[in-house]
Amino acid sequence: MKRLIFFILIVVLFLLGACDDTKVKLTEVKMQDLVVPDNFNYEMNNQIDVNLQGAWRLPVYIKTTGGNLLFKAQMNPASGINTKLILPNTIKEVVVEYQTFAETINVSGGNLDFNFRAEQ
């Protein structure tokens, strides 16, 4: 039994060591050595075009998935809510709360579109 446990321990340690070797170890690089794509403009923010539609003149909350409030406004049933949000690129999704609804919407494409009307 002891041999078996010892053998398993060795295998586990070996596998752990192998995993560690696969991790990319980053180090400093000289700027002159960088190869950056032509169309990259170093954007760290994402300008989001917001277009939310709803039937009820009630508050709309745009929050992070962690619950932090980004913006709130009152729904205009005639024109909706149309504005722009600038979010860090690290934020891929936001939650839009309206009436009893809470929709998680992907914004990485630069748009926050949702229609809360009944026909949706």
Binding site: E28, M31, V35, F40, W56
Partner: protein, 581 residues
């Protein structure tokens, strides 16, 4: 009797006194209830039933919605309704001629309404209804298997109906109960000061003239009525109860946990009437009556500027920053490559927009913190805005404030755009350049507190966000050695029309406006960065890629990996090369 008539008449009129509003629903409603809440802000009464709702519009029409098709499909037509009530599978409405109509299930005779034309109020129970006549007497119909329709004689000022029981407030102010009370429904509280009663299924609640609430019936959480506060309205539901306190706050107590907490968004509303259904509540806002003080269409409860029709909302950048600040970092040798420490000028920024009800920008407030000047030149900093100088309301703008004192920020016309010179010279705030020591870029040198600089621009005509150029509402740039036209912009951001075009493509720069290529080297390296956080920049003469190891793979991937490269928490960095004070 005159007192009774007066009160009953007031009860009728009070519905008309409610401001017209929008219906809010919360709790755990059936999807058909939540999804199909009727559109509009002209409602004056609401009633919540079992998986359905009923609402009364200001024009006297009734709308029914939800999962109960027998009710939804038979909602009565007409424009002469003044009040409504919702039972389990039937609903009733009072017409302005004092008659009552009912629709939905008739399994217990719920639809066989009396012929009286003097009804002042009606209350629906589970399978029966009770009505209050203008003379104060009562009439009931529907399921009477437990005597719940055997109304007592006398005069009353309010009525309510549960499952096997009914309730009335006698003109003496006492509560009277009849029917069957297996769950203590008939054990009414004593006193002669009751002004409102409500019941649903197995329990009831009532309000005294001093605003306090008492509950009785089935011994569940539904009986945990608030013991403090004064209340102006209440309503019992199947699994929960809700009341409006005299300060406007809603208070709920319930069997069902989801009904025990009033959502924040509901509390922010100006709710003037509530109703309790099956696992959900309805609220009627009064926000489009007297509570939109500036008449801009945004209710005062949602309006950050309730007395200003030109302003409604606040929107700040950067959003979701732990500190609320972003960072602009510049190199100042353009069109020559710099040393890439990105600390020749470092400014924290926070842009706050004030929007009107149509989401147009009315005010722009810029707050900056001058954090580092790792330059031997005396540079300037300016912002291009996408509106003409003629649209700036100069007398009502603050241009500007620097280090706590008035600081003149010139406004310059640039074609159809405006330029605000935020910092005319770093020497206005920093005296170090020229003596061989940089400012807040060398750990071995003294640290200086950041210097606050701010402005506030008010626009004459609000800026439509849908007409903004691709670079948005601001285009910040450094002016090398304070020379007009010697502009260093963020990569991809265009120069202003005042930029010296002769510098484009010189030295290491490859700016080519015809190709929409701006402020990058041949190998696509930048002269400036805009970071969404309060960023810790590199120390003097250390390249950003030496300080932050994730920067290089991030840039080479076109920004698809290591998007948090600037975060000190990543671990992939050299803290010795970062100015961390």
């Amino acid at each position: 009797m005159n007192k009774v008539l007066l009160i009953v008449t007031f009860s009728l009129i009070s519905f008309a006194l409610f401001a017209q509003g929008t219906i809010a629903v919360w709790g755990s409603p059936h999807n058909q209830v939540a999804r199909n809440v009727p559109e509009g802000d002209d409602f004056i009464d609401i009633a919540a039933g079992n998986k359905y709702g009923v609402a009364l519009r200001a024009d006297g029409s009734v709308v029914t919605w939800g999962q109960a098709n027998q009710l939804v499909n038979n909602s009565p037509a007409g424009n002469d309704f003044v009040a409504i009530s919702a039972g389990d599978q039937h609903a009733v409405a009072l017409k302005n001629d004092g008659t009552v109509v009912a629709w939905g299930s008739n399994s217990y005779g719920q639809l066989e309404v009396p012929t009286n034309s003097d009804i002042a109020k009606v209350a629906s129970g589970i399978y029966h209804s009770v009505a209050l006549r203008t003379n104060g007497e009562l009439v009931a119909w529907g399921n009477n298997s437990n005597g719940q329709c055997d109304v007592p004689s006398g005069t009353f000022i309010d009525v309510a109906a549960g499952n096997t029981f009914s309730l009335g407030i006698a003109s003496s102010g006492e509560i009277v109960a009849w029917g069957q009370g297996w769950n203590n429904e008939l054990n009414v509280p004593s006193g002669n000061d009751f002004v409102q009663v409500s019941a649903k299924f197995l329990h009831a609640i009532a309000r005294r003239s001093n605003g306090s609430i008492v509950a009785w019936g089935n011994n569940t959480e539904n009986l945990n009525a608030p013991t403090t506060g004064n209340y102006i309205d209440l309503e019992a539901g199947w699994q929960g109860n809700v009341a409006i306190r005299d300060d406007g706050e809603l208070v709920a107590w319930a069997n069902l946990w989801v009904l025990r907490t009033i959502p924040e968004w509901v509390q922010e509303l100006d709710i003037v009437k509530v109703s309790g259904g099956d696992a959900f509540f309805l609220g009627l806002t009064g926000e489009f009556g007297e509570s939109d003080a500036d008449s801009d269409g945004v209710a005062d409860s949602m309006d950050s500027y309730p007395d200003d029709p030109l302003r409604a909302y606040n929107l700040s950048y950067p959003l979701e920053s732990a500190t609320g600040w972003g960072t602009l970092a510049y190199e100042d040798l353009w069109p020559q490559k710099g040393d890439y420490d990105l600390n020749d000028l470092v400014l924290d920024y926070k842009i706050s927009l004030v929007l009107d009800a149509e989401m147009k920008v009315k005010d722009i407030q810029g707050d900056f913190m001058l954090r580092a000047v790792g330059a031997s030149k005396l540079n300037a900093f300016a912002i291009e805005f996408p509106f003409p100088t003629s649209n700036i309301d100069i007398p009502n703008s603050t241009l500007g404030v620097g280090d706590g004192s008035e600081y003149s920020m010139p406004v310059i016309e640039a074609g159809t755009n405006s330029i605000l010179k935020v910092i005319s010279s770093t020497a206005d705030f920093v005296n170090v350049p020229g003596n061989g020591v940089y400012w807040n870029t060398q750990m071995e040198q003294p640290y200086f507190d950041p210097i606050p600089i701010s402005f506030e621009i008010t626009l004459i005509e609000a800026l439509d966000q849908t007409t903004l150029p691709f670079w948005g509402f601001w285009n910040p740039y450094l002016m090398v050695d304070r020379i007009d036209g010697h502009e260093v912009h963020l990569p991809g951001y265009p120069p202003t029309v005042l930029a010296n075009e002769e510098l484009f493509g010189e030295e290491d720069d490859t700016t080519n406006p015809e190709m929409n290529r701006y402020y990058k080297t041949a190998s696509n390296l930048p002269w400036a960065l805009d970071l969404p956080i309060h960023w810790k920049y590199p120390i003097e003469m250390k390249e950003i890629s030496q300080a932050y190891y994730r920067f290089a793979p991030w840039a080479e991937s076109g920004g698809t990996i290591y998007q948090d490269w600037y975060d000190l928490g990543t671990g992939d960095l050299n803290l010795d090369f970062i100015y961390d004070r």
